[in-house]
């Protein structure tokens, strides 16, 4: 018991941070709430560093302290800090400002639970925890659009989560245990295993906005405040994808899950980029692009039991994705929601422009930026797992993605009537941090390959 608690100290710290932020909000001190939140998460990250290299489970195998879950903390906690700084601009001065920070942390806690899930119940609870907090965050502005986004998000989430739970009930029936680690022992009832797997893919796929469970994503992103959209595209998504990794690690290969993943990957990448090509709203564009990026994660996930490169590649790409996507959203927050707002950005505000170019090129996967290293490793893992054709498809999609992102980049160089909004200092801070992260992850990838 004591050992178990010592191993989940970061999670406890995150929980206490959320509680602290909530208490500060109850005392009507949103600034203090933000400060507590930031400090708490930074401390949580620091506490996690101590655990690096641990590979064990706690609470009878139901929660895993392994590379994935540790890196999930190291990636998601800083990402949450950045989102909170972005959110500060969106919600400053509104009623219940501190609640937003607290909800963000609770949701991140859910993502962490997902990332370390060693038990089907943790899958359910993690999905629930991230989901509930994010519905509220999306609906936060209380406008027509926000509530519509929240409503669609909620309906989609509750239906898919229910499907997942229903499928998981078959897994319990098949293995007599809710531990994921007991799944390989199943040799009877293959149908139950497949049903459960499909259901898990539905439930986690919705959270990771994989095609065809992505419908909510563009609407929710568009209706929500930008900072929340940025958050949705990073934290719950990475949590869900890590959870998916935890699940398939233990799945017997005969179920053919790798092929399913490959199919989903192709669908997500291709559909995501094709749909992004026709968007004029930058948020929707980024939403579809994030759908496509989820597809890239799957390249690593399907290789997870057959290639040693897979785990490091997923982690690396997650870190890269968090940095570059948050950065792109931050620039969008500082610029505007329409593609036209970006015309002339490069001339009017060159630093923002350069940063945006770097983020987008990183999303395409141009070396030596973070996105490249991540994708490179993912392709390596895929080829290693005998899915060369998939790597080829992914590469073709990367080219397609170029077309998508160039739609933002090209007008930036044009001399245009760029919106000359004064940059919020927090936006600048987030952009700079994401920018440095994008470069550092690209050059210092070694650090992520433990």
């Amino acid at each position: 018991m004591g050992r178990d608690l010592a191993l989940i100290i970061p999670e406890i710290a995150v929980l206490l941070t959320a509680v602290g932020a909530l208490i500060a909000e109850m005392l009507r001190r949103p600034r203090i709430s933000l400060i507590i939140a930031v400090i708490g998460l930074v401390v949580g990250t620091g506490l996690t560093l101590r655990l690096l290299g641990t590979d064990t489970t706690v609470f009878g195998g139901s929660f895993r302290i392994d590379t994935l879950s540790i890196w999930a903390k190291l990636i998601l906690l800083p990402a949450t800090v950045l989102t909170m700084l972005l959110a500060r601009v969106d919600v400053r001065g509104s009623a219940r400002e501190g609640t937003v920070y607290s909800l963000l942390i609770f949701s991140t806690l859910g993502a962490l639970v997902l990332a370390g899930a060693g038990d089907t119940m943790f899958l359910v609870l993690g999905t629930l925890l991230t989901g509930l907090a994010t519905f509220a965050l999306v609906a936060y502005p209380d406008t027509d659009r926000a509530t519509e986004a929240a409503m669609k998000f909620f309906v989609f989430a509750s239906v898919t989560t229910s499907i997942m739970i229903f499928g998981l009930s078959y897994w319990f029936g098949a293995s007599g245990s809710t531990l994921l680690a007991d799944l390989p022992g199943i040799d009877t009832m293959p149908l139950a295993v497949i049903l459960g797997f499909v259901a898990v893919v539905v439930g986690l796929g919705y959270k990771a906005s994989l095609v065809p469970f992505h419908f909510w994503a563009p609407d929710a992103y568009e209706g929500a405040p930008l900072s929340i959209a940025a958050y949705l595209s990073v934290v719950p998504k990475i949590g869900a994808l890590f959870a998916l990794t935890q699940v398939v690690r233990d799945l017997p290969p005969e179920t053919g899950w790798a092929a399913v993943m490959a199919g989903l990957a192709v669908l997500s990448m291709t559909y995501g980029y094709l749909a992004a090509l026709v968007q004029d709203n930058i948020v929707r564009l980024l939403a579809y692009s994030s759908i496509a990026q989820s597809g890239y994660f799957l390249l690593g996930i399907l290789a997870v039991s057959s290639s040693e490169l897979a785990l490091p590649s997923i982690i690396l790409f997650a870190a890269a994705y968090a940095a570059m996507n948050l950065g792109a959203f931050a620039v969008a927050a500082a610029t505007g929601r329409s593609l036209n707002d970006f015309a002339g950005l490069g001339r009017a505000r060159p630093l923002m422009g350069i940063a945006m170019v770097i983020f987008l090129l990183s999303l395409v996967g141009i070396p030596p930026l973070a996105g490249f290293v991540g994708k490179f490793m993912l392709f390596g893992a895929t080829i290693d797992a005998q899915f060369t054709w998939l790597a080829v498809v992914a590469i073709i999609n990367s080219v397609l993605s170029l077309a998508v992102y160039l739609r933002i980049i090209v007008p930036m160089g044009r001399s245009g009537e760029s919106a000359s909004v004064a940059t919020e200092p927090w936006h600048g801070v987030v952009v700079i941090m994401a920018f440095s992260a994008t470069l550092i992850i690209g050059l210092g990838a070694q650090f992520f390959l433990v």
Partner: protein, 489 residues
């Protein structure tokens, strides 16, 4: 012992960072910093040249741990194939900065981009690690894209996009090939030396990897039929952009052909040698004919590049096909020297075309005439460069092409039809010279000023080197030959 290669490699980057960090520098400062760092880079390259190569494998290797977990590291070094190209890059970039020092339109970003490009170029030639190579390979693409998109001519956005998409699409197969080589090696590593020493792939895998590489390099070189981006990009690019594009970035393709296709999948290339040879011949002849049909000076020069690069492909293909090491050495000597010479000569030609365009705001040959009389210095420089380009003995291209033909004759005599290209190119240039520089001077161009000191400084080094290489090629060839002779395939 100074880490010469790394210093040379990152000096331009330091310059770029310096320029970006200065608060509101004047154009003059920007250009001075750029020229200074390029000059220092050239000094570094010369120092490397003096160090020389050992002939056996790579010399001056510098290594730094980067990602040991996956066997990637920062590894740089040179051999006889890359060293001349490093020198060429240093020279061409320096003269480019000199030429561009009159620019006043956002000089800071422009110069920084070119400096970045210089690092990328030298990095591509010196990288000894698969990932590192790919990184530099792609970075060059990005900076070139922004150069064309930001400072090109009328239709620059479209041309830049076409260039970018073409070459990025083209470079991704290389990524697959690199991954294949990595996963194929017994002890997974990205060390190119290991890949060269023990080609990791064989059979069908090697053939697939080779096909992937060939696609990439064919786009970059460019070879028929993947060449269509080149004229558009050249026409729309700023002068310096064209110079670097033709002078250096095309070499990425041919260099890659030698370094990757020939050295890492030798057996596969031997099997596919005839096909590659065929494409080389077709490229050379097609390029020549296409050049002949041009009326736009810049397009003309661009198409001659396709022709010259075709010879390089022929040389590499012959090197793969032949079984005789001495013939192979001759073929590779020719191919590498051709890269070097082409950089000098085409660089000079693009500069001169750029100067004409700046003065006349047109590049149509039909609108000129008798320029030799109005602007003699420019005219004679062009004549010299043109003669070099068409392969006149005593000038840079002659020794290179001669060796290629020699080796071809000894291996696959039929391919010597490629000599036809020389004749056509000669015709092309003679036609261009006649229309542009000979004849009666037109009144329109009477006021055209001759070369300024800045422009002389930009062109003269190239012409001097052209003559030097042509008259006494041994100073370059020695370096090249030392490596090609020791090459074991």
């Amino acid at each position: 012992m100074l880490p010469l290669v790394s210093l040379t490699l990152f000096l331009p980057l330091v310059g770029a960072v310096l320029i970006l960090c200065l608060p509101k520098p004047t154009a003059r400062t920007v250009h001075s910093i750029a020229i200074a760092s390029a000059a220092l880079t050239l000094v570094g390259a010369l120092a490397m040249w003096l160090q020389g190569v050992s002939g056996d494998g790579f010399s001056q290797v510098e290594e730094l741990v980067w990602m040991p977990a996956i066997g990637a590291a920062y590894r740089v070094g040179v051999d006889g194939i890359s060293l001349p190209l490093v020198l060429l890059s240093a020279v061409l970039f320096l003269v480019s900065f000199i030429y561009t020092s009159s620019l006043r339109d956002r000089p800071r970003a422009y110069v920084a981009l070119i400096l970045l490009l210089e690092t990328a170029a030298i990095g591509t030639f010196t990288a000894l690690d698969g990932i590192l190579f790919y990184v530099f390979f792609e970075v060059s693409l990005v900076s070139m894209y922004f150069m064309i998109a930001g400072w090109g001519h009328e239709d620059r956005q479209r041309a830049a996009l076409m260039f970018f998409i073409y070459t990025l699409l083209g470079s991704l197969p290389l990524l697959l090939a690199i991954l294949g080589l990595y996963l194929g090696s017994p002890d997974p590593t990205f060390d190119m030396r290991a890949w060269i020493a023990n080609p990791p792939l064989e059979g069908a895998a090697a053939m697939w990897a080779l096909i992937a590489m060939l696609i990439t390099f064919a786009v970059k070189i460019p070879a028929i039929p993947l060449h269509t981006w080149l004229p558009a990009a050249h026409v729309q690019a700023p002068t310096v952009g064209s110079v670097i594009l033709a002078g250096i970035m095309l070499k990425f393709g041919t260099y890659g052909l030698v370094r990757f296709a020939l050295q890492m999948t030798p057996d596969a290339l031997r099997d596919a040698g005839i096909v590659v040879l065929f494409f080389g011949v077709v490229s050379a002849i097609y390029g020549a004919f296409a050049a002949l049909a041009q009326t736009d000076l810049k397009r003309l020069v661009a198409y001659t590049s396709i022709n010259h690069m075709g010879y390089v492909i022929v040389g590499v293909a012959v090197a793969a096909l032949t079984l005789d090491p001495s013939v192979r050495a001759v073929a590779l000597d020719g191919a590498v020297l051709q890269m070097f010479s082409h950089g000098l000569v085409t660089g000079a030609l693009f500069f001169l075309v750029g100067m004409i365009q700046e003065r006349a705001h047109t590049r149509e040959m039909g609108e000129f005439g008798g320029l030799l009389k109005t602007v003699p210095l420019l005219g004679w420089s062009f004549v010299l460069a043109a003669f070099a380009s068409l392969g006149l003995p005593g000038l840079a291209h002659f020794p290179a092409e001669f060796q290629i033909f020699l080796a071809t004759l000894g291996t696959t005599p039929i391919a010597v039809v490629v000599i036809l290209g020389i004749a056509i190119i000669a015709g092309t240039f003679l036609k261009a010279l006649r229309e542009t520089f000979l004849g009666e001077p037109r009144d329109r161009w009477n006021k055209m000023p001759d070369l300024s000191p800045r422009e002389i400084l930009a062109v003269a080094p190239l012409l001097v080197l052209t003559v030097a290489t042509g008259a006494a090629p041994s100073w370059v060839l020695d370096v090249i030959h030392r490596t090609t002779l020791a090459l074991v395939l």
